[in-house]
């Protein structure tokens, strides 16, 4: 193959990467994508011949009858699809360089003295290669949290964007994460009974801390705030005068971190798989009525779907579990998501991390698999629109951004992806990705290696000079 033209990286790529690394925010561009197949992301089926207009970092119009405003640069979307960016729920994007290399891996903190107080925000690294690879797969937003290790709590997760800039955080401390079931039981000392006792104790200690009158800013009532992203660090974390009784298990930081959970300000993501474990989680609200629960995992959710729906608890599930990989997953089936959804449960696909089968860019493929199930007798699948919503608007809504992320509707963030075909199909790939109206580089170490090894010609010089 010709070596010409492969020697120099494109200048635009160099600039984009340099800006990203230097932390310069790129400016949002106004853009109109015309005559494309549009998937809004809200569960509706795709429509052809549509136009999407993004101005000032937001979607201002999307639909078949939309004319591009004068003065806005137009991209001809003929033969293309335009969709909202994909939302990867419960990922570790930005926390890991190489999973098997501990030094660069902030996924777990098995020797930490802290639990619920752990906050991913200062650990997030937007320059992680996993972020770049996921971005090239059309993922624009994600929720990020570590894994429980020293305690049943993983700590506080964030909602992030995958833009190539210095700041990943869309919303810090967006949720708390706890593992019950087999993993929680193991961490808690060997039994589900201990995991539940630890959780209940933690929530009670948090409630007590929240009520404590001598703690500045306390009083037990959450401060009146409109939106959860306004949640400030709990004042108990900065107050050095606070005192607590000695009979406590949680450190001050950990207890304070759980105050917004027990008060219902901050959602509690609970990882469980077995149907009976799900029911035990739903029952927590009889003791802690303010809890805003989100079920994570829920491999056997289809067996408790009516109860989950009645409790109005959303679910973030990995869609392609179908092996009894653990005893808590005996009834695993690819039909789980569709069956829960049919029962009225709000279900997003998620739990994508790392670089193997569950790497985040495979989420579109997996959503496509749920569509395929619709044609298998006895299995339950999703319509295309439902499957696509499960990786866009639904996870965005569970994250607290209903109508603002994961959907191409006026007022939503300008997170858009232009694909060269059906985004759930194996042959398709993004050709342009926008985060809040900013066009993103679609490069990574992988694309650089690809370009270097387009041929194996070393007649003139080593490959090391080819960059």
């Amino acid at each position: 193959m010709s070596r010409a033209g492969r020697k120099q990286p494109r200048l635009s790529v160099v600039i984009a990467l340099a800006c990203a690394l230097a932390g310069w925010p790129a400016a949002a561009q106004d853009v109109a994508i015309t005559n494309a197949t549009l998937a809004v992301g809200d569960g509706s089926e795709p429509v052809q011949g549509a136009t999407v207009v993004i101005r000032g970092g937001q979607v201002v119009a999307a639909g078949p009858g939309v004319a591009p405003p004068a003065g806005v640069p137009v991209i001809d979307g003929t033969g293309r699809w335009v969709t909202p960016g994909i939302f990867a729920s419960v990922s570790t994007l930005g926390l890991v360089d190489v999973e098997g290399v501990g030094d660069g891996n902030d996924e777990r903190a098995p020797s930490s003295p802290f639990s619920a107080a752990l906050d991913v925000r200062p650990a997030l690294n937007p320059a992680s290669q996993h972020v770049a690879v996921a971005r090239t797969g059309g993922i624009t937003r994600a929720s990020v949290v570590g894994q429980p290790s020293a305690s049943i709590f993983a700590g506080q997760g964030a909602i992030v964007d995958l833009g190539a800039d210095a700041d990943m955080v869309t919303r810090p401390r967006a949720f708390q994460y706890v593992s019950l079931g087999e993993m929680g039981a193991r961490i808690a000392g060997g039994s589900r009974t201990s995991a539940h006792a630890l959780l209940r104790n933690a929530l009670r200690e948090a409630r007590e801390v929240g009520r404590s009158p001598e703690i500045a800013g306390g009083g037990g009532r959450p401060p009146a705030r409109e939106r959860i992203e306004d949640l400030a660090p709990d004042p108990r974390l900065v107050d050095t005068a606070s005192e607590r009784r000695s009979d406590v298990l949680l450190s001050r930081f950990d207890a304070a971190a759980l105050v917004p959970v027990v008060n219902g300000q901050q959602p509690l993501y609970v990882h469980v798989e077995r149907a009976s474990d799900i029911r035990a989680v739903l029952a927590l609200r009889s003791e802690f009525p303010a809890l805003r629960l989100v079920l994570v995992g829920a491999t056997e959710g289809w067996m408790a779907a009516r109860e989950i729906a009645a409790a109005n608890v959303p679910v973030i599930a990995f869609p392609l579990n179908n092996l009894p990989a653990r005893f808590e997953q005996l009834a695993a089936t690819h039909s789980n998501v569709a069956r829960m959804r049919a029962a009225g449960v709000t279900v997003a696909l998620g739990l994508y991390s790392g670089g193997t089968d569950e790497q985040p860019r495979n989420i579109t493929q997996h959503a496509g698999n749920l569509v395929a199930l619709s044609r298998i007798p006895g299995a339950d699948g999703l319509s295309w629109g439902q499957a696509f919503a499960a990786i866009t608007s639904v996870p965005a809504a569970i994250a607290g951004f209903d109508g603002r992320l994961g959907v191409l509707r006026p007022g939503a963030a300008g997170d858009a992806v232009i694909w060269d075909g059906d985004p759930l199909e194996l042959s398709s790939v993004p050709v342009a990705v926008y985060v809040a109206g900013v066009e993103q580089p679609l490069t990574s170490r992988q694309t650089r290696l690809r370009d270097r090894y387009r041929d194996l010609d070393e007649r003139d010089q080593p490959k090391a000079f080819d960059f």
Binding site: P324, R326, R445
Partner: protein
């Protein structure tokens, strides 16, 4: 790492894994079948642990009107495939007579050979992935060519049925894990449920030897203060092992030694070498080691950097058994790119798509399609029918079973998948799967196997 899997399984699969290598489609030499093996017989005069597999009865069947990818790279539109008495009788166009066959209207559907996974741990890392089932790595010594994977396979692993129903997998090679430099013998199975492993063993399939490069052996043993703790230690232990094996092989072989019998089988060319190896530089060393010691590598497994040495792999007739897009989960996988398969194809090197995963084995067709798409985007256009070869005939060739299965050619085993759409589309799934002409899965009539483990459990018999 994964939130899906128990920590126990992760330790087994993701890092400590399970990994290996394959042979070449280019070579004209063919591995000897088991009947030709010089391995010592038992006291009863028979091959030990011989296959007792028997094909189940089938109906003479004509698949009519489908798009046929025959596994060799050929595509037949509006094709006809005839199966009778466990064999492929004929593959042709609409003019082929179907008299005497039960006709299945396959218009709008696709027919391929049964999918073959060259790298699986079903049975030796089965579900549920509890410690009691962790039988893939005899991680007590870095060199254990004496162990045989078949003695670890649990035939009730529910994963076999998922591979059949969702993946159309009709044959698969179960390998020891990659904790050891020499992990032991592999076994090739028919994906037919059975009460014993012998009754799953693919008749006539040669054995393989699993070896492993790189991080896993040196980490597992180095962390115990034992050799090898480095890559040079890996090579030194391997070379001495081969030197000792050569001495055994050149002797009278009368005093039985299980380890050396396996290694001598490799030196004899009767046992195929499957070498887990990620990095290009290490693969190049293994190629030279094979020349130094006088054996042949059938395939490098995982081979995420194979694209850097496609020329070398082509020239040495070694297949690369790879994932479509796994990357960056360990240091030696850091340079993986989705174009790996396409770049190998560009060089004329042999490509096999493998799973090494009980979930991935259910989607080898989708993995192949992703690898194809990555190639297309860099101007390497590989036709669908060629891509199907990556998961059928190329795998069979690397496993030494290509004279029996892997393509739809007259006289070969009737291992066949009828797909309800193009298997390279995400929207397609197997509709029917035959193994030796016997219908083992039928989505429409819900004919699917249920393992003993799943009987009486939640979800028994469900569409999985």
């Amino acid at each position: 790492m994964s939130r899906r899997l128990a920590p126990v399984l992760l330790a087994a699969v993701a890092l400590l894994p399970a990994c290996t290598a394959v042979p070449s489609e280019r070579g004209t030499e063919r591995p000897a079948t088991a009947g030709a093996s010089r391995a010592p017989l038992g006291a009863d005069g028979r091959q030990p642990y011989a296959s007792t597999y028997r094909a189940y009865p089938g109906t003479p069947t004509a698949l009519v009107g489908a798009t046929v990818f025959d596994g060799t790279g050929r595509r037949i539109d509006n094709g006809t495939v005839l199966l009778r008495e466990g064999k492929v009788v004929a593959v042709g166009d609409a003019t082929l007579s179907t008299a005497g066959y039960e006709r299945i209207d396959a218009a709008g559907k696709f027919v391929t050979p049964g999918i073959i996974d060259i790298h699986s741990h079903l049975g030796n890392y089965p579900s549920p992935a509890v410690e009691a089932h962790s039988d893939g790595n005899e991680a007590t010594d870095p060199t254990t060519p004496e162990v045989w994977a078949e003695h670890s396979v649990w035939p009730q692993d529910p994963g076999f049925s998922r591979a059949l129903a969702n993946g159309g997998v009709t044959a698969l090679q179960i390998l020891p894990g990659s904790a050891n430099l020499s992990g032991g013998r592999s076994v090739t199975l028919k994906n037919v449920p059975a009460r014993t492993v012998q009754a799953m063993k693919f008749p006539g399939a040669p054995y393989g030897l699993k070896m492993a490069c790189g991080e896993n052996p040196k980490r597992v043993y180095g962390s115990r203060g034992r050799m090898p703790s480095t890559r040079m230690g890996n090579m030194a232990v391997n070379r001495q092992t081969w030197l000792d094996a050569r001495e055994f092989a050149d002797g009278d072989r009368k005093k039985r030694n299980l380890a050396n019998e396996t290694l001598a089988g490799v030196l004899d060319g009767e046992i195929l070498l499957h070498n887990h190896c990620y990095r290009a530089d290490e693969m190049a060393f293994v190629i030279d080691m094979a020349k130094e010691m006088g054996y042949r590598v059938a395939a490098f497994h995982h081979a995420v950097e194979a694209y850097k040495i496609g020329d070398l792999l082509r020239d040495n007739g070694i297949c690369s058994a790879i994932w479509a897009d796994w990357y960056g989960f360990k240091m030696e996988s850091y340079d993986a790119i989705p174009e790996n398969a396409a770049f190998l194809q560009r060089e004329g090197a042999c490509v096999v798509i493998h799973s090494d995963d009980p979930n991935g084995i259910q989607r080898l067709n989708q993995e192949a399609a992703k690898a194809q798409a990555a190639g297309r985007r860099v101007g390497i256009d590989i036709p669908d029918a060629q891509v199907i070869r990556w998961i059928t005939l190329n795998a069979a060739t690397a496993m030494g079973i290509d004279r029996m299965t892997g393509s739809l050619e007259p006289g070969k085993m009737a291992d066949v998948v009828l797909w309800n759409g193009n298997p390279l589309s995400v929207y397609s799934r197997p509709e029917k799967v035959w193994i030796d002409g016997a219908l083992m899965y039928d989505a429409l009539t819900r004919r699917r196997p249920v393992s003993d483990f799943e009987l009486g459990q939640p979800g028994e018999g469900d569409a999985k």
